[in-house]
């Protein structure tokens, strides 16, 4: 069945948000891990803009929180400029919207006259009016409202004029804020879930939360969409790592297609047995994983030693890469099974066996802190004893 002429797509958009360029990840102790995750936010720009070229979109909407702070260092905005400058998109405008992390402040990166603003090509528009109204191809118009502070209590969509009678243009909105449909949501820049309907918008592009979703979840017309962060930033983000491709036909019917662009997949694992740990070690897809690994098991000394070795393989050392791309290891639950330790130390000299016995007694005390110290000492003794033999 061939589509009717009115089904022709007249407007194609790429909608992205929440890049958080410059975000640091102090939860990852190792500097190289933190650096990987921070750098990933810059690397994903190439894929986002490449996608825009591949789909030949008419405009790119970047819906806020593009930087993690209002005044990022040049090392964070220069790569963005570089990515944009090399595109030469005279007919594909890019709209950069200040969000609550990088609001439009007099001294922020978005302020007129800033180095970033001066370096941007003319077809890149920073949204610095409330609202900014710009005509798009296909008899369409964009209304965008920036955040001008880190926190706010006004619905930014209220600044978008309602559809006037007789206005049959495709109306696109772009704001940054929180909708009310999320559990425990904060009320910063609250956006009414019916804003698109109230304002007569055919598509409302929003940014703030990091997972791709429609607002409300069941409504598709007119769509209100969070594309989510193109690179996830936390373990609890559902469906992150995407951008939204938006197609609008002559009848103003909108189709939204999520596209994955992320490099890193964030995963949480709980390990309770050596078999699980060995299986994890054998996996081949770990190099692009950000893995939070919680180990909780009580094992005898040889397995404890093996577990130590496997964990070292996964995490890496100063001298060698780990198998996991980025590992956040919680190993407090890895416990040495001390009751059988003497079996593994029977060939030790008497004096060392006496020490083993003493430490084992202490490891069985009721004071958990002392017991933990004794247990660790026991493992050190076991390992040193074996090594020294």
């Amino acid at each position: 069945m061939s589509p009717a002429p009115e089904d022709d797509v007249v407007l194609k958009l790429l909608h992205t948000a929440d890049w958080h360029l410059g975000r640091r990840f102090p939860g990852f102790v190792r500097e190289d891990a933190e650096r990987k995750l921070t750098r990933a936010r810059v690397d994903v720009l190439e894929r986002i803009f490449g996608l825009a070229e591949r789909y030949e979109v008419d405009a790119v909407l970047c819906a806020g929180d593009l930087f993690d702070v209002p005044s990022p260092l040049p090392e964070w905005w220069e790569p963005l400029v570089e990515q944009l400058v090399k595109r030469n998109w005279a007919l594909r405008p890019v709209f950069l919207l200040p969000g609550n992390h990088d609001p439009l402040l007099p001294d922020s990166i978005w302020a007129r006259g800033s180095k970033l603003r001066n370096a941007l090509p003319p077809w890149v528009h920073v949204v610095d009016a409330s609202p900014l109204e710009v005509p798009l191809v296909g008899n369409a118009v964009l209304y965008a409202v920036p955040c001008t502070s880190k926190a706010g209590q006004r619905d930014p969509t209220e600044l978008i004029p309602k559809r006037a009678a007789g206005d049959d243009r495709i109306r696109i909105g772009m704001v940054h804020g929180s909708t009310f449909d999320m559990k425990d949501c904060q009320t910063d820049f609250p956006i009414s879930r019916d804003a698109a309907i109230d304002r007569g918008l055919d598509y409302l592009a929003i940014g703030d939360t990091h997972g791709f979703r429609f607002v409300p979840a069941e409504r598709r017309e007119p769509p209100t969409v969070y594309p989510g962060a193109p690179e996830p930033t936390a373990f609890d983000e559902k469906d992150a790592g995407k951008v939204a491709l938006v197609f609008v036909n002559r009848r103003r019917k909108v189709t939204v297609q999520p596209e994955a662009v992320a490099t890193w997949t964030w995963e949480e694992r709980h390990i309770a047995t050596m078999a699980e740990l060995r299986d994890l070690r054998a996996r081949t897809d770990l190099d692009r994983r950000v893995l939070r690994l919680r180990v909780e098991m009580c094992v005898p000394a040889p397995e404890y030693e093996e577990a130590e070795r496997l964990l070292e393989d996964l995490e890496g050392t100063v001298a060698k890469h780990g198998r996991v791309g980025v590992l956040q290891l919680e190993r407090a639950g890895l416990v040495l099974e001390t009751s059988s330790i003497d079996v593994y130390c029977k060939d030790f000299p008497d004096v060392l066996r006496s020490a083993v016995e003493r430490l084992r007694e202490q490891a069985n005390t009721e004071d958990p802190a002392r017991a933990k110290v004794a247990e660790r000492a026991l493992f050190h003794l076991y390992r040193l004893g074996r090594k020294a033999s």
Partner: protein, 1122 residues
């Protein structure tokens, strides 16, 4: 520990002795009975015995005049600290003294303690297991212990050491010291490796004092710093979140409050509008009602007039009937009167016939007069009644005219009031327009003033920006200068450092230098060279590095003394180098010097120095240079930071200026708007409005605009009221004119002149008519009485005739009267008719003059207008209280209050929203979550590190404990080296000595025999002495403590004695050994014997002391039998 010097006075057999001891083997030799063993006893006394005790009494000199025994012993402890103990063992308390002094260099001593404290300090220092003096239960006699016996054992009890152990010690210090010293011997290699690794870890984590390392690079500090930094960051973010939350909550609250205030304001506005509308509607309704009432009254008045006209016309018609009837009856009455007259005349004729007398005639005349008078009176009465009635009617018309006049007056007054109200409303409107203009001027002035201030701020910002930029440049220049200097210094330091050896090499060079110095020190001992010349030759001699002969021609004998080395050059024939010292030490020195030449000198040369100390100095200088470099860079960074801050401040000022420039432009526009207005006055107003002047002025403008609208409404109402009053006045004017015309007509009918007071005239006329009526009535009564009297005078006939006449006359009179009455009635009816016709005409004319159609139109309009309010819920609710102006005023006050509250809330909300730009919002909350996670992780890492460190320490401690508590056997540890030496001594006959854990000898292992303690018991005295001596030597060697052997090998054969001689020299390399012997050849070669009091051999490692030269005993000195 080693002894340095012993000075003894008056001690048993010794009168005096002064012995300086070498650091290695000391052989104090001399004949028996010289007091050699007393020297050992003196050492024990100095170290162990408190003056004043019973034991001390044993030291009394053998000769009574020798004075109090006195011993002074100088020793060096394990830390190379000098101690000098001086004890005087006098019998009396005053003579029993102890003094302990200490020194770092052995030259300058300072007092440490005296009295009892001396022995406390000494026993602590020695650590031999001897309890502190005077302790409860302390044994009497010479304080002793296992180690005291080992190290200072007496000559008479050599082998007793084999039966002794540490169990008998009074204090644990000896055991502890032994345990530490023998620990190295005790360790299992496996155990040792484990312990070593554990110790390395502990050393990495902890200081020697057991504290966690806190220095640079400490993992604890790193972890702690990380936790601290993240904790501080966390606290900062928490504060940020709290602040943000507070601000957002505040904004939310204020917005809610603002919304509530807006709702309240809207409600108040609605209420006010409703009230105003209702009030206006009520006023309109009242006006409509009044208009309706007036229109109704007007129409009713017209109806009344029409009724009056109809009534008047009906009355006129009725009166016309009356007049016509009266005319008919007058005609009838005239006819009747004519016939009655005729009857009278007949009766009179009869009377005259009957009477015929004069009297009767007179009476008749009188009666006729009276009757005439009475008829006149009746006429007068009628006329008076007419006048009275006409006056009353005129009075009524005059009253109507008066009422109409009063109505007109009231209407005119109302009109005047309405005009006055309109003028007042117009004045209010003018005033409101003026107020509004002033309020707008205030706003304009305030804006101009703010813009002007902004412009000034912009100028100030520009100045500040220039100042900051200048400051930034200065700081940049300073930073560049510092950096340039730093680069120069760094290049200098790098070049200098490149010439220096690295620290490890420096350390090796220093060690080498030290070892060479030590090796050189160990050489020497002195020698002499005797040169006997047989001819003349050029001679060059240097001793110990100093040239003593240069170019001198030798002729004869030359004796040269040197300590370590000498070189002799004889012409060009021969160069002789002579070096003192043992061969191995010389070779060692040569090796060291060779190493020095190869390993150290090139680096020293490269570094441009000659000695390692200079290297240190250069390194110190470089460190200072580094510090300066760091300081310079720090200064440069500081200046760069300050420059960047100044530049940022300048940029900020630029941005502010840019933002304020727009205000400056706006200021000129606003200034033009202000024109020539009184700005001082406007400034006063703005100042009076305070900081919120804009909101206040805007509110003022709004209020004035409302006042203006209100004034316009009021003016419109006043205009409407004035028009209504004008209409009423015109209406009243018409009514008044018609009423006045009617009244004047009536007055004219009464003969009153126009212009006279009609009311007074009418009253007068009425009064006159009533008076006249009263007068006529009274006269009629008199006339009637007189007529009665006349009547009574007639006779019966006459009377009858008279009566006939009278009856005829009466009939005639009655007829006449009837006719007259009828005529009067007719006249009156005619008059009434005329009046009625006049009134009807006047009324008709008035009625015709009134605009009934207009009145009816107005009534219809008024009804229609009023009908609107019948369905108006605002004004037609049954029982609804009336809305008054006070209600409206109250509502206006409520609205103003609500608006004020709203403005206040909006201002607060706007102010609070301004704070939103300063807080973090969701971003900082998000960052807080990440920061908390990072903090928890850092804490966990820190905890893990602490657990790991504690685990290593626990492991080390546990290993030490198990080692200490018997898992290692001191006896076994010590037995090993003893057994090894014993096997060597006995050429394998005895393979081992077994010692229990308290070092008590248990058994001897004999080769090819079963170990048995019986063997130990069965050993010869000599062998037992040797075993005991080996045991003592090994203990001393392990403790690195001086040992005194007082002729302990007297039962040893020469072969074993030679073995012992070598062993003693070997042990003495690390431990001071003092051998007291009467058989010096057992330990010395023939040429070793001292030529003087003392002689140092083997590079100072052996000192030979001739006891006879250093000890002076009481009485004659013993002589050698040699």
């Amino acid at each position: 520990m080693r002894f340095v010097k012993l000075v003894v006075k008056s001690f048993q057999a010794i009168e005096s002795a002064e012995i300086e001891l070498g650091r290695g083997l000391n052989v104090l030799y001399g004949p028996n009975d010289l007091g050699k063993s007393t020297v050992a006893s003196a050492i024990r006394a100095a170290l162990l015995v408190m003056p004043g005790t019973a034991e001390a009494s044993r030291y009394r000199p053998w000769f009574a005049d020798g004075g109090a025994p006195e011993v002074t012993l100088t020793l060096v402890d394990d830390d190379d600290r000098y101690w000098r103990v001086k004890k005087s063992f006098g019998a009396s308390g005053a003579q029993a003294k102890s003094d302990l002094a200490t020194s770092k260099d052995g030259v300058a001593f300072v007092h440490d303690s005296d009295g009892r404290a001396v022995d406390e300090q000494l026993r602590k220092l020695l650590g031999w297991g001897i309890p502190s003096p005077g302790g409860k239960g302390a044994p009497r006699g010479l304080p002793t212990s296992f180690l005291a016996n080992v190290l200072l054992g007496e000559q008479s009890n050599v082998e007793s050491i084999l039966a002794q152990s540490t169990e008998g010690d009074g204090a644990s210090s000896g055991k502890e010291r032994l345990r530490k010293a023998l620990a190295g011997l005790a360790e299992d290699p496996w155990f040792k490796r484990v312990l070593t690794e554990a110790q390395k870890k502990v050393d990495a984590y902890f200081t020697p004092a057991g504290q966690r390392k806190r220095g640079k690079g400490s993992p604890f500090i790193q972890a702690s710093d990380l936790v601290k930094a993240r904790g501080e960051k966390l606290d900062e973010l928490r504060r940020g979140v709290e602040e943000s939350r507070a601000v957002e909550e505040n904004v939310r609250t204020l917005r809610e409050r603002s919304l509530a205030a807006r709702e309240a304001c809207d409600e108040a506005t609605r209420e006010l509008a409703t009230l105003r509308q209702a009030y206006a509607r009520a006023a309109e309704r009242t006006r409509a009602e009044e208009k309706l009432a007036r229109a109704t009254a007007e129409v009713e008045a017209l109806d009344q007039r029409a009724n009056e006209v109809a009534e008047a016309e009906r009355e006129a018609k009725r009166l016309e009937g009356v007049v016509a009837s009266a005319a008919e009856r007058v005609v009838e009455a005239s006819a009747l009167a004519v016939s009655a007259e005729e009857a009278v005349r007949a009766a009179e004729d009869a009377l005259r016939a009957a009477a015929g007398e004069d009297g009767a005639r007179q009476r008749e005349v009188n009666r006729a007069n009276l009757q005439r008078e009475r008829a006149e009176l009746a006429t007068k009465k009628v006329e008076a009644e007419k006048r009275r009635d006409a006056a009353a009617a005129a009075q009524k018309l005059a009253q109507s005219a008066k009422d109409a006049g009063e109505e007109k007056t009231r209407a005119l007054e109302d009109l005047a009031n309405a005009q006055s109200g309109e003028e007042g409303a117009r004045a209010v409107l003018t005033e409101a327009e003026g107020d509004l203009a002033l309020a707008r001027s205030i706003v304009a002035y305030g804006q101009w003033h703010a813009a002007e201030a902004a412009a000034n701020h912009a100028l100030a910002a520009r100045d500040r920006a220039e100042s900051e930029r200048a400051r930034s440049k200065a700081k940049e220049a300073a930073a560049s200068e510092y950096e340039a200097r730093a680069i120069s210094l760094e290049a200098e330091a790098t070049a200098a450092r490149a010439l220096l050896p690295d620290p490890a090499l420096t350390k090796r060079i220093e060690d080498l230098f030290q070892r060479i110095a030590m090796a050189e020190a160990s050489l020497g001992g002195g020698f002499s060279i005797v040169l006997k010349g047989t001819g003349k030759a050029a001679l060059h001699v240097t001793t110990d590095g100093e040239q003593v002969v240069g170019g001198t021609m030798l002729d004869g004998k030359l004796v040269l003394e040197a300590d370590k080395m000498a070189s002799v050059g004889i012409a060009d024939l021969l160069d002789v180098e002579i070096v003192a010292g043992a061969a191995e030490k010389r070779h060692e020195l040569e090796r060291l010097r060779e190493r020095w030449a190869n390993e150290a000198l090139p680096f020293l040369k490269r570094a441009g120095v000659e000695a390692p100390l200079a290297l240190r100095e250069k390194k110190t200088a470089l460190d200072a240079l580094d510090a300066k470099l760091v300081q310079l860079r720090s200064d440069a960074r500081q200046h760069r930071t300050e420059a960047a801050a100044a530049e940022a401040a300048a940029t900020l000022e630029d941005q502010r200026r840019a933002m304020l420039d727009a205000s400056a432009r706006e200021a000129s526009v606003l200034e033009a708007k202000l024109g020539a207005q009184d700005r001082a006055l406007l400034a006063q107003y703005v100042e009076r409005l305070g900081p919120q002047w804009k909101e206040q002025a805007d509110a003022l403008v709004s209020a004035k605009e409302e006042s203006l609208a209100d004034a316009r409404g009021k003016l419109e109402n006043a205009r409407s009221a004035r028009e209504m009053a004008q209409y009423r006045a015109a209406d009243a004017e018409k009514l008044d004119t018609s009423a006045r015309a009617a009244a004047e007509g009536a007055l004219a009918a009464l003969g009153q002149r126009k212009g006279k007071s009609p009311a007074g005239a009418l009253v007068k006329l009425l009064d006159e008519a009533r008076t006249e009526l009263d007068t006529v009535a009274a006269r009629v009564l008199v006339v009637d009485t007189e007529l009665g009297a006349l009547e009574r005078e007639a006779s019966e006939k006459v009377n009858a005739a008279k009566a006939n006449v009278e009856r005829a006359e009466a009939s005639r009179d009655a007829a006449m009267a009837g006719r007259a009455g009828l005529v009067q009635i007719q006249e009156a009816a005619r008059a009434d008719l005329q009046r009625a016709l006049g009134r009807a005409e006047a009324l008709r004319k008035a009625l015709e003059g009134a605009d009934r159609a207009g009145s009816e139109q107005r009534l219809a309009e008024a009804k229609e207008a009023f009908a609107v309010y019948a369905s108006d819920s605002l004004v037609s609710r049954p029982g609804a209280p009336g809305i008054t102006a006070d209600d409206v005023t109250a509502a206006e006050a409520r609205e103003a209050e609500a608006k004020s509250k709203l403005d206040e809330c909006k201002a607060e909300a706007s102010h609070a929203e301004g704070a939103l730009t300063k807080v973090g919002g969701a971003g900082v909350r998000d960052e807080l979550l990440r920061s908390r996670e990072a903090y928890d992780l850092a804490k966990e890492r820190q905890h893990d590190l602490e657990v790991d460190a504690d685990a290593w320490r626990l492991l080390r401690e546990t290993l030490e404990e198990v080692e200490k508590e018997g898992s290692t056997h001191l006896g076994k540890s010590l037995a090993a080296p003893v057994s090894s030496r014993l096997a060597d001594l006995s050429r394998g006959r005895y393979s081992g000595l077994r010692l229990d854990q308290h070092l008590r000898a248990e058994a001897m292992d004999v080769a090819a025999a079963k170990a048995s303690d019986d063997v130990l018991e069965a050993l010869s005295v000599g062998t037992r002495d040797q075993v005991a001596t080996l045991l003592r030597l090994t203990v001393a060697e392990q403790l690195k403590s001086a040992i005194v052997l007082d002729d302990h090998l007297v039962h040893t054969d020469p072969e074993r004695l030679e073995w012992f001689r070598d062993t003693l020299r070997s042990v003495a390399l690390g431990t001071q050994v003092i051998v007291i012997t009467c058989r010096p050849h057992d330990y010395l070669g023939a040429f070793d014997l001292s030529q003087g009091a003392t002689r140092d051999l083997a590079g100072g490692m052996m000192r030979v002391i001739d006891a006879t030269k250093v000890i002076r005993r009481f009485g004659p000195a013993p002589t050698s039998r040699r």
